[in-house]
Symmetry: C2
Subunit: 218 residues, 2 copies
């Protein structure tokens, strides 16, 4: 009855709700939210359509719940966790994003990024569009935090550019360029260098700490 329920599978209701969401997760992630119908989710989950509409009053609510779950699993569980595992310093972690992307792009069944797909498909201003933009914003904030930890000048600016490289790499990969992540990483390294250098010049305050062994700028 409550669409914003935490997915604690307490009791029969919670378990059913989870089954629906689980099926929706796979189908939406693979084929997009507009192409996948409610009947398909009902069939895949083994839950009757009426029950589905008893848990989510409209398909849109199911999509919004999917977006939350996707952010929890992909952004947090995969991206953030993978970055943390692969890189030690903030700079390594920033670059590690593209290593993760490379694995992602080469995995079979790569279908692009659902967030970007929804951003393209949905009407600007609609609840789904807004929610998706917010999920993308969370990712950009995360990149911004890494950039700030890396003590670059203008972390927000770097995060914006970084995000565009990430999004562009995803689109390029979806267009067939499977090596997009590698090329994006090279470009990103250049940006990181430039932002870092600028910081060393303009924002000398950032050097009050030894700054963890920073390369002396060429």
């Amino acid at each position: 009855m409550n669409d914003t329920d935490d997915l604690a599978p307490t009791g029969r209701r919670g378990a059913t709700r989870l089954k629906i969401l689980e099926a929706a997760y796979d189908l939406f992630s693979a084929h997009g939210v507009t192409l996948v119908g409610v009947d398909t989710i009902s069939a895949r989950s083994g839950v009757a359509k009426m029950t589905l509409y008893h848990h989510f009053r409209a398909k849109e609510n199911l999509v919004l719940a999917y977006l939350d779950l996707r952010a929890k699993r992909w952004t947090v569980g995969w991206l953030k966790a993978g970055v943390k595992a692969r890189g030690k310093t903030p700079r390594e972690r920033l670059l590690a994003i593209f290593d993760l992307f490379h694995d992602w792009f080469e995995a079979d069944g790569f279908e692009g990024c659902p967030f970007l797909r929804i951003i393209c498909e949905s009407d600007v201003g609609s609840p789904v569009h807004k929610a998706t933009a917010q999920k993308l914003g969370q990712i950009q904030n995360y990149v911004g935090q890494l950039a700030r930890s890396a003590l670059v000048s203008d972390p927000q600016g770097l995060a914006s550019a970084w995000m565009m490289l990430m999004e562009g790499a995803i689109m390029s990969a979806r267009s067939g360029q499977t090596d997009a992540a590698l090329k994006a990483k090279k470009a990103a390294a250049v940006l990181l260098d430039a932002w870092g250098n600028k910081g060393a010049k303009k924002a000398a305050k950032a050097v009050r700490k030894p700054a963890a062994k920073r390369k002396p700028t060429r």
Copy 2:
């Protein structure tokens, strides 16, 4: 009867075909190709549905014709022409892309890039997906030509990164960041600088000509 007809409006047939394509151009550009139905195009163009199907045997053929027209008008007529008008040197022209994008993003009625939207929506491997990827490839080739004219080292690599910034900027703008083009331009300038510097070091052969007044690296 022939879907690949040049759009020379000779005679009644040609004029009718053009009316259909013109309506499809507006509608597809604004709302995407999947959301716009054949009936809507028929109504908007003032051409009966049967006539439409007499000129294009299926909606897919109309979409393919649209992609050609979009490339002709947007890529050539707007992007290339605008770049040529706004920049004199190859480097200025590369950067001018993002100035054009800025105008584009701020124009009311900005609905994102149809090419990217189709790349997201269509099945990988389908004729429409292939054709769209090819149109994007043409843009990247054009960027590569500019990069080569700018005498940077590894023009292809720069073109890839440039393209990702362009695509990422479009996606960011569609997500609501209206200043995406400005931020992308800053990042692009950094990339251009780095690629140019590298070229001066690694590929000394590129300097056999006076290289049109190249800045001495930084």
